[in-house]
């Protein structure tokens, strides 16, 4: 079976006054209809990877790859029109903070119907019906009311549900979620993850889940890529997380305090130069 997404030797570089900064340095992976987690600390290149797949690397960033294809389409050769057709309908992205990623001057309902009306030939009434269905699918209790609200009128958890609704309304095949729950409280986090989990499973999407939280990712995904300094240092099935071999992965797992454990002082990650090599 052909993978949904193929990434071969992807690199993202930014020219700066002091020379080239290599944010992503030659990573390769395949994604089927599964959940793949990408984990790393700030600056590891995890978000840049997600953005490059969506074609959202801001200028003057340069994306290079031996191959970057999404269900047979060569993304490296895609022009603006191809990208416009694909983003939002076949591939979608959820960002971290709904406060910044929703349009503040459009109602939530209009933002969802806009996606639909752009990509599919539907009537206004049909678009509205599907938007309401989608709001219901993300467990918003009163979809009619939320449909007419502006983003500042809803809580963070509600905003993130609206964002998920907007991204999934066209039924994309690939979803990239970049820290989708980091701005939310733990109990809300759980609800949002539950919704995402169910929708991804029911619709059979491919999911790339980007996060700094190794434990969260491992509880949610089938497979995890651990990134460090722009490279993949380890790839693991989440079931084998306990037997991670790379010292960076082990260090990340060890250094967070857990309830009911007494370790004073906490083990600290000793960074080795050769990890970045």
């Amino acid at each position: 079976m052909m993978p949904l997404l193929t990434v071969r030797n992807l690199s993202v570089t930014y020219p700066t006054r002091t020379g080239l900064v290599e944010a992503v340095r030659g990573i390769s992976f395949d994604l089927g209809r599964e959940r793949l987690g990408i984990v790393g600390e700030s600056g590891s290149g995890k978000s840049q990877t997600g953005r490059a797949i969506m074609g959202l690397t801001p200028p003057p960033g340069i994306v290079k790859a031996d191959a970057l294809s999404f269900s047979g389409i060569d993304l490296l050769k895609a022009g603006p029109a191809t990208w416009r057709d694909m983003r939002g309908s076949r591939m979608a992205m959820i960002l971290q903070d709904p406060k910044f990623s929703l349009n503040p001057v459009m109602t939530i309902g209009r933002q969802i119907t806009e996606t639909l009306r752009h990509h599919e030939n539907v009537t206004k009434r049909e678009a509205q019906r599907r938007a309401l269905d989608m709001l219901e699918a993300v467990q918003i209790a009163d979809p009619e009311r939320v449909f007419g609200l502006y983003p500042h009128e809803v809580s963070g958890g509600m905003g993130q549900r609206a964002m998920i609704a907007m991204m999934l309304v066209c039924g994309p095949e690939l979803l990239i979620a970049d820290e989708p729950t980091s701005a939310l409280d733990v109990t809300v986090q759980l609800e949002v993850l539950g919704i995402l989990d169910r929708l991804v499973r029911d619709k059979g999407m491919g999911l790339v889940f980007i996060s700094h939280d190794l434990r969260l990712v491992s509880s949610f995904c089938d497979r995890v890529l651990v990134m460090y300094a722009g490279r993949i240092v380890e790839e693991l099935a989440t079931a084998d997380l306990g037997s991670a071999t790379h010292p960076y992965t082990r260090g990340l797992l060890d250094c967070t305090p857990k309830i009911g454990e007494s370790r004073h002082p906490l083990p600290v990650l000793e960074r080795q130069k050769e990890w970045a090599a």
Binding site: L190, H212, P257
Partner: protein, 249 residues
């Protein structure tokens, strides 16, 4: 008893952010406040520092009754605060040296040269960091500077408002270790706000769980770890902080 707060209320323009909260913290103790956003945990901390509009109740620190937002000079030296975001709490156009000099100048403490070097050394930053600007430091290094700034006036109580939540997990471990080390060396009292139950139980012996401006329950970290809690809300928080499972949802 170092800090005794009774029936404290804080009201912002008619909105009750904190309603009759009571806690007491012993000398040398480390006390945690946990809750979700909007639960009033930071407000409680800021009320102690005199940074919130108190509308009722009493705060007593080191035997001194505090009224309104007026604080004595002795209080301002004995109680120091470390904020969440080291990107926002340091002056972007002042060197580390200048930021550490400020509290010394305010309190009229001499011998600044030696004290600045000692404070930097204490938080694990060498003298080479002394004349750098915040933008030349990483997040963890900035938080170390913020801690040095609090420690330089030799306080007795540190108010910590989410001191590690803006940091990566590996850097968080380093800063938490530093805070514990400093506390045992100087016998400090900590009041620490966090949304992370793991961090709070690691750092504090007792904690209060807060929800919508009220204290739901006060219990020891050992009881929390052993699931000996009274309220359902604490239990929910505990389940949520263990991470995602299909069953939990």
């Amino acid at each position: 008893m170092t800090i005794r707060i009774e029936n404290l209320s804080v009201t912002f323009d008619g909105f009750r952010a904190l309603s009759s909260a009571s806690i007491s913290v012993d000398k040398g103790e480390s006390f945690g406040l946990v809750g979700e956003s909007g639960s009033g945990k930071s407000t409680l901390l800021r009320a102690v520092a005199g940074l919130a509009p108190v509308s009722g109740g009493t705060i007593e620190v080191n035997g001194e009754m505090l009224s309104g937002n007026r604080r004595s000079r002795a209080f301002r030296r004995a109680v120091q605060m470390v904020f969440q975001d080291p990107y926002a709490s340091l002056h972007p156009r002042q060197t580390v040296d200048r930021q550490l000099l400020e509290p010394l100048a305010i309190h009229g403490i001499g011998d600044s040269d030696k004290r600045i070097l000692k404070a930097l050394d204490e938080v694990g930053l060498g003298p080479s960091f002394r004349f750098r600007y915040p933008h030349q430091l990483s997040g963890g290094q900035r938080q170390r500077v913020a801690i040095a700034r609090a420690l330089i006036v030799e306080p007795e109580i540190l108010l910590l408002d989410e001191p590690t939540s803006a940091l990566d997990a590996s850097v968080q471990a380093e800063v938490l270790n530093l805070l514990e080390e400093v506390r045992s060396r100087h016998g400090l009292t900590y009041v620490m706000v966090s949304h992370d139950l793991g961090v709070v139980t690691h750092m504090c012996s007792r904690l209060a769980v807060m929800k919508s401006g009220e204290i739901v329950e006060t219990l020891s970290s050992v009881d929390l770890a052993g699931s000996r809690m009274v309220s359902d809300y604490t239990r929910r928080l505990m389940v949520a902080s263990k991470g995602f499972t299909r069953e939990a949802v």
